[in-house]
């Protein structure tokens, strides 16, 4: 006690220490290791050695450009869809949920009680060729008679949208929930239409939630491989699938590590661009 009392300014650092240590141990160290590995060359059979093999990065970008672009595209579409679906829902729960709020939130989180894999496999059943969804789309002519959803990009995007939906909905809800309703009333008192009050007051105030939600959805979605594997065909594989096969099937660790870094860099760039676009203060609320 005496020590802390004398060195009061140390307290915040001591409180930070467990978190920082955890991050250092389980994020920074593996990351450095991965960076080191990404510059190795050789084969698994004879062993890998460090040679500043920058070529791994070139190979990653050059050979798997399609899968990189596809990953960002699928993740982007899924993020936008999740935002479009989640916003009205979060809005409604925040402002109209009343005493049912907690129950409604539970419904959003409920799918998390089931494992990721089983949820995705359930979509295999929902989108089955002889299932109700495909049947309906065929009957209204959106799909032709032997059209299908499974093993298409549509199914992959649908799966990603669904699986990451709560990551979008919850931050949106939190930021909408915090809005002081008197501000909206004030806008309307000042002759703003409901739509205008939404655009000028509610929407800007909920932007931190939008930003948090889109990042929480987009970043993991871009690295996802389960949806592409189960709901897509080989032509819908994302970069996560390639990394997984490089790591596990081919034991080509340097290539996999280089690809992971390229993916990280691509995501960072997009996030930085996005942050500039909406303004960094929105990121932190």
């Amino acid at each position: 006690m005496g020590f802390l009392h004398r060195h009061r300014n140390l307290t915040p650092y001591l409180l930070l220490a467990p978190g920082l240590l955890y991050l250092a141990l389980f994020f920074v160290v593996p990351l450095c290791f991965l960076a080191y590995q990404s510059l190795e060359s050789g084969t698994f059979d004879i062993g890998y050695s460090f040679t500043w093999a920058w070529g791994n990065y070139w190979d990653a970008i050059h050979n798997y450009r399609d899968q990189f672009i596809r990953s960002l595209e699928y993740a982007g579409i899924a993020t936008i869809l999740a935002l479009v679906f989640a916003y009205p829902l979060a809005y409604w729960i925040a402002f109209r949920g009343g005493r049912w709020k907690n129950l409604l939130l539970l419904f959003i989180v409920a799918p998390f009680f089931v494992t990721y894999l089983i949820r995705t496999l359930a979509w295999e059943t929902i989108l089955a060729d002889e299932g109700p969804v495909v049947g309906f789309l065929r009957s209204i002519g959106i799909l032709d008679d032997d059209g299908r959803l499974l093993a298409t990009g549509t199914a992959v995007v649908a799966g990603i949208t669904y699986n990451f939906f709560p990551f979008m909905a919850l931050p949106l809800y939190v930021s909408l929930e915090q809005i002081d309703e008197r501000l909206i009333e004030a806008a309307q008192d000042l002759y703003a239409s409901k739509w205008k009050a939404f655009l000028r007051v509610t929407l800007p105030l909920s932007l931190p939630g939008v930003v948090a939600g889109t990042l929480l959805t987009f970043i993991p979605a871009a690295g996802d491989f389960i949806n592409a594997q189960l709901l897509g065909s080989s032509q819908n594989h994302m970069i996560g699938n390639v990394i997984q096969s490089k790591f596990l099937e081919l034991t080509d660790y340097p290539a996999a590590a280089a690809m992971s870094f390229v993916l990280m860099a691509a995501i960072l760039l997009m996030v930085a661009f996005y942050a500039r676009l909406v303004g960094t203060e929105k990121l932190t609320g």
Binding site: L117, L121, A128, R148, A151, H237, K246, E249, T251, D252
Partner: protein, 383 residues
Amino acid sequence: MTDVLSRRQLLERAAKGGAVLTLPGLLAACGGSSSESSGSESDKTLADTLRFSNWTLYIDNTKKGHPTLDMFKKETGTTVKYFEDINDNASFFGKIQGPLSRGQSIDRDIIVMTDNSRYPSLLIKKGWLEKLDKSAIPNIKNLQPSLQHPNWDPDRDYSLPWQSGMTGIAYNDKLTDPVLSTDDLLENPKLKGKVTLLTEMGDTMTLVMFANGDDPSKVTDATFDKALKRIQKAVDSGQVRQFTGNDYSGPLSKGDLSAAMAWSGDVVQLQADNKNLHWNVPEAGGGIWTDNMLIPKGGDAFTASTYMNFVYKPRIAALIEDYVNYICPVVGAKEELEKIDPDVAKNTLIFPTKEMLDNVVGFDSEALANQKYLEAWQNLISS
């Protein structure tokens, strides 16, 4: 949902689930270059416990546990610690290669890996396996003759089969005429988009090479390329819907697929729920693979070998077989099983006819280890 999870299906799913949460490859990759392990010389005393890693649903199983393991304990006094922790060959190898490469024990005496992956032969090449103590395995004489000399372990110095399975074609007779050839699977326009192939290179390549009139047990660059191009064409034309592990089983029994490259044991289990499913060895030829018991470095070779001897008693093999539904490698098990469960003994997917066995081969183990082939294959299945 009526489909029973088959062993491989369960595993694959579990593996995929696990892969979401962990990065086994990353952890595994921590291993540096290989170093000589101290390799325990087996003395001839039985250990108190035998640590056995196997695939799930791959041994006799009752509510009380695994009867054959209890019988082993009664007979020898050794308790088997049975782990169902192998989900697929690649991730299991990823998990064990780190410690093995550092010369550390993985705390197992027996592990089981499939020879249509490159890993069993890789483990031998790296010196990461103990030799079997054959003096403790007189029952090795019961090993099926066709399995005695695999090219990756010609004298079975390091491995003994646990179960085998065949790779062939399954089809749903409600949706299609019988699909009896790989040609049909790859090119029949009526099956377009209703067909899956297997992600394992050895499985799919074996069938396609046979269909091309080539020999899958001796792969050359030319025959490999020819088969690869033919599959690529079937993918580009939309004939092939997906490459799968055994996750073909759901869509196949639900009717999303008309036909699929499939493993015999899976189909035995699927048929219990869906009588419309059939499985056959393709006319031109099919594949056979074997899951092998191996003793990782640091394991107790004598105790492990004693256990192997035990399961090579026909009566014990029959008890396991009655539950497992794959192909039994032990001669005499069929006769024993006829006494306990004649229906299973009659099933040709579990005890195949000689005609069926003559028409299947294992994929070239050299080709399985060829990095160039593996890469070309991975690029094909995830383009």
